[in-house]
Symmetry: C2
Subunit: 294 residues, 2 copies
């Protein structure tokens, strides 16, 4: 079973892609990251963009995850509905060529809500498969669009997206708060002040204006504004995520700079956060899928 | 007392200005609006920008309100602290010339919060002065930065800003929701669905992502997305505003297209909304200030 010669796993997002060579024993080899995200590739340009990956990492089969399977990507891979585990992802693979498989995203409809993910599912289910996450646990996956996912028997049972990362970028790049949000964000006292307010006071679009008013009126330091605003946004996110019934422990999967901030806010909310490197989880998930490809 | 020859009242904001000729009896005459907001005037360019107003409306004294009194305006008029009524605004007038008075903004510090307004105070206190608003009432002033103000004995006792209008613009112009939010916003069923969710579920940054997921998964129509998203934002705003203790009746002061949307959400929340035209309230407030200038 599986691609016996090894394969290349690609996490191909909107603005970036990361490609990893995996050998026949499942060990990672060479890798690279560049800015050839889905939005930078012209329609019809994906075969060339894929050929370029093989030039760099060898002529292996390709497992492609993320926005590459969206309607702006190479070939659309329809969403697989929750509950979704590795087996459901494998059944939903869409083949762009004989040796190029695209991983489907996951959708959720229920409780009056609708939600979608693309790319995170490989990391979440990879973390379950390699034993890092309890198959009945809860995972938080920070990023442009943070995901809170509840697992049941190792499948994604339900999830909820919070557009925290994108809101922070919009406010930093285009809003009245722009000049205040250029500084570095750290899990410092200012971040904790913001998170504490947001965990208790469900008034984000008011509290965000307060970022500016506090500085104007001498109630806060300008250099603390970026961390404080990040605390407001991530604290709101954690308040929303923890409203889903769950155990005391949350696994936070993603980029270490982001998991650190979320772990700080989850701890403030009285829960235990366990940080996991999203890259490792992605490789675990990709291996699980690849070994089921016949 | 007062400017006996009449005066020109200017509501000079960040991106626009509106100027109104008021005669010796307080009656409005000619007026104009243009895009010469504060940000479009070069440093040192305000005397010319002011001369242009007099060329169009006559050589009368000028009462200037709004961002013209900010640190990016002609001359900074420091904020007057709450509680602030017409008398406090008059005491806080800053004179840029012998016949050019700039109205101060209002600040609030309390309950662990800090907040500022510039321009809205003239409308809010004008509405009290002309009898449109109960001197112990509550006023909502929609705009880029919506204000919820509680009045006490005719003064602004406390207020809270919610950056609803700016968030909608950011999402429409720069976010992943951009293509969904280009349509017209109306107080229709989609708006009410969004407002209803937001009045009850304090999860704005999650519900906003749902705008896209609902359309992608066939749970909502693309043409309803702008009104639904506006309902989410304004419903959240109203939930925050109505958390301030107040009577059953809220006066909504501002542009008629915005007051209509807020009135719809306030009604959904079980309160009574009374809409007032912000332009009329501005003129009432400007007259009250001008007649106290000796």
């Amino acid at each position: 079973m599986g691609w016996t010669e090894g394969f290349i796993a690609v996490d191909w997002g909107t603005t970036n892609r990361r490609a990893y060579q995996i050998d026949a024993q499942g060990k990672p080899g060479d890798e690279f990251e560049d800015h050839k995200g889905v939005l930078s590739v012209q329609s019809g340009g994906f075969p060339d963009a894929v050929a370029e990956i093989r030039q760099r990492l060898g002529g292996l089969p390709l497992l492609l995850a993320g926005m590459i399977g969206s309607n702006r990507g190479w070939k659309e891979a329809p969403y697989v509905a929750c509950p979704a585990g590795i087996e459901e992802l494998v059944k939903g693979l869409v083949w762009a060529g004989d040796r190029e498989a695209i991983v489907p995203g996951v959708s959720y409809i229920g409780n009056g809500r609708a939600d979608v993910m693309r790319g995170e599912e490989v990391q979440l289910l990879g973390a379950v498969a390699d034993g890092s996450v309890d198959p009945m646990g809860m995972v938080c996956h920070p990023g442009t669009h943070n995901k809170w996912a509840t697992l049941r028997h190792g499948k994604i049972e339900e999830f909820r997206t919070v557009m925290t990362g994108e809101l922070f970028s919009l406010l930093r790049d285009h809003s009245i708060l722009s000049d205040l949000l250029q500084g570095k964000v750290e899990a410092n006292e200012a971040f904790k002040d913001g998170a504490s307010l947001a965990l208790n006071d469900a008034a984000l679009p008011a509290d965000l204006f307060g970022v500016r008013a506090r500085v104007l009126l001498g109630q806060a330091k300008k250099e603390d504004a970026a961390s404080y605003a990040s605390g407001l946004l991530i604290g709101t996110d954690v308040r929303i995520g923890l409203s889903i019934p769950t155990g005391a422990q949350i696994h936070v999967v993603g980029r270490p700079d982001l998991t650190r901030l979320y772990a700080a806010a989850i701890t403030q909310a009285g829960r235990t956060a366990v940080e996991l490197d999203g890259e490792k989880c992605f490789l675990s998930g990709a291996r699980e899928i690849a070994k089921r490809i016949s």
